[in-house]
Amino acid sequence: MPSNFISPILAKAFTVLVFALIALPATAQQLHGRIADQTDPTQPLVGASVVWKGTAKGTATDANGQFILETSDVQTSEVIVSYLGYKPDTLNVSGKTEVSILLSRSTTIKEAVVEGQKERYSSLTPTNSQIITTRDLEKSACCNLAESFETNASVEVTTTDAVSGAKQIQMLGLDGAYTLLTTDNIPSLRGLATPYRLNYLSGTYIESIDIIKGMGSVLNGYESISGQVNVKLKDPEKTERLYFNLYGNSLAKFDANLNVSAQVSPKWSTVLMLHGNHLGNRVDRNNDGFMDVALGTQYNVFNKWKYTHNAIVSEFGINALTEERLGGQTNYEKDQPAGQNYGTESDTDRLFAYNKTSYTFPGKPYQSIGLISSATHHKFNSLYGLRRYDGEQNSASGRLIFQSIIGHTGHTYKVGLSYNLDDYTETFNGQNFSRTEHVPGAFAEYIFNNAENLTVVAGARVDFHNLYGNIFTPRLNVKYDLTANSIFRVAAGKGYRVANPLSENTGAMVSSRSFIFQEDLDPEEAWNVGGSFTHYFELGGRPGAFITDYYYTTFNNQVVADMYSNRNAIEFYNLVGRSYSNSFQAELQYEVLKGFDVKTAYKYFDVKATYNGQLMQKPMIPEHRFFVNLGFATPFDKWRADLTTQFFGLMPLASMDEADHNHPNNLIGKRNSDRFYTVNAQVTRAFKRWDVYVGGENLLNFRQPDPIMGASDPFGSDFDGSMVWGPITGRVIYAGLRYRID
């Protein structure tokens, strides 16, 4: 039979094959390889990881991008190669002893916003950046941008005056006006919108917030001096299909929010976000005859569209809001005869629209062109006692940015052109302040990255201001990784802005001080130099981070708002002498126990300006501040609890006291605030679709004694509601719920 004849041969062949298979790995016990950048294969990727698929066995490439892998005891034939900023790759290496692997860059180094996954201090960006995630946002009371910074140590939120309740952010001890506020990287809420701008973005519109301390990129204009706050709004493609939030507090303030998103077609997606808030209850807990919080009603709509088709991504957004506020004495009503009761009113209408379109060149993921345009209309009518302040701002801006590489992705650059139009009309007490700015400009930024431990971003822009001539703005950011866990950053550069002294000092309108403009005011110009050191560590298997930074800002020119020199006035003049800010911060974050995070920070501010020839500490900025945040979460965040406490040191205040002003050898009227603590806490219970939260602000019930000087005679010469350094309302308890369908 033939079969009997064949089978011994088959058996023999099989034995040989088996031997061969056994012998093969024996002769090739090592896999040698080299990993390099795809766009420039001469550029080795140092420290890239090579791991056998499905195992923990692997290695990293050496200084030449080379690696050796033991193949002897591995079952799989595939390796996974990955490197930060590059797309990971899986390769079949069976039978090979030597491989050459080219990795392509990810188009963006995307810093994912994933709950609980993300380091609050980014280890990737060249700037000193922090991220406030959705999870962080949920830790504080609802529902606007002002509250979003509550659990963050780098940005302070201050109240401008005791009557209107307007809130401002501060960074590096400098006024919020020196911080560039952008939404989706588009400068917004600038100029006349400044006084109440933190109210204009609902917390429920926000995906995350990036805070950049010190000098940032030149791409967004010349305006930022102390830093940049970029608010990332919800992405129509990725946000919840339905999100609903209700909030109420013990002052009877209510907030309602609704987001609805939909994938309209494969290319188009949209999100519609609605926000409304209302406070109609007059509260006067300190019995000074004034409402502790201004009444207000706001309706706010934001609609965002996203178009994605091959290499084109385009985003459209439109935002409309209307707000009414009323503050002052408890029996103040709208349209009362002037002088009967003291009151403040403000009616605001705002319209904002933008488009961002980018095109990525086919086959060249590193090369793209983008066009960003926006238009804003902002109009308000306001009343501060007997003073009427009305304003309107119409702005338009356009930016064209081209991005590419020089040779390989270690050298990238961005160049572009920009145009800004700002038309301001302000009337204050019958006086007109109007100006129209046309500012065409050009900018360039070069980014060097050695793919290992050094990133240098050098940028400059030239702008041609129709009123103030040519403006040159150089900026530099350097990031150096001493080790993967220890990172140094340096930032230096110049910033420039045209001040809006009225809208930036609405607080002083709530006083008897007259507004005196001593001269024509020049634009403000400042240098900012600083650096930070970030160290990530692991102790007892749990992660922690230590961050310290120091920034020095010095003004070549500043619009000085002097409340020290004249007890009856706020005087505006150009800086003569020095004005600077020294800001130091040290922060420690550590997960003390599983699920229990501790964040502590100490801040030192030395902020001085020359007032009438005398170098003085700026009013209402404490030299020393402490911040402690305790966060506790059970597994899977079913329960979350947060406690934030802050200590504020002494703050100098401008005084209206005759005695202070008439003191011999002292032309300056100055007094001090008290030291105080605030404590905020919140507990959240999460269900599959529901979250329920209860919290309290200012639990110690600390209140600034006499926030309004001369409250009994608001039309008299001693009236001053602008020196607010502490909480006015005392303890506020709130509760709310969130409902979402992903």
């Binding site: 195992t55 990810s106 996954q117 899977f636 999460a686 992903d742």
Partner: protein, 119 residues
């Protein structure tokens, strides 16, 4: 006295037997399933296990990143294997032969996309 002792003892015994019985009946409704998923990393593990934790009837879950197998213990009176696979899909991952919900998959972080392979 003796009677009282006996009474207490029998009461204790009764309780023990009842509780044992309760435990056994409770145990009998617990089921364990294993689902092969398209998860690829530790981030996926976190999000999958978290999604499971919020699912009605799920007692515990654990994903083995290397084998991509999600092991779920659930109360069969409150949920079933299909619901669990649906939840896996809704989180953005394939579950056995059922593909991931497209929108949920798009929302996943780059790190969790299945093209990356297990890493």
């Amino acid at each position: 006295m003796q009677k009282l002792k006996m009474f207490v003892l029998s009461l204790v015994m009764a309780f023990i037997s009842i509780s044992v019985q309760a435990q056994t009946t409770k145990k009998s409704t617990d089921e364990t399933i294993q689902v092969k998923t398209s998860s690829v990393c530790n981030m996926c593990k976190k999000s999958l296990e978290k999604a499971m934790a919020y699912e009605k009837g799920v007692k515990s879950s654990s994903l083995d990143v290397n084998s991509q197998v999600l092991t779920v213990v659930f109360d069969s009176r409150k949920t079933n294997a299909d619901n669990i696979r649906k939840t896996v899909n809704a989180t953005g991952y394939d579950a056995d032969d059922k593909p991931a919900d497209a929108r949920a998959y798009n929302k996943l972080d780059d790190c969790c996309k299945k093209e990356n392979g297990v890493h």
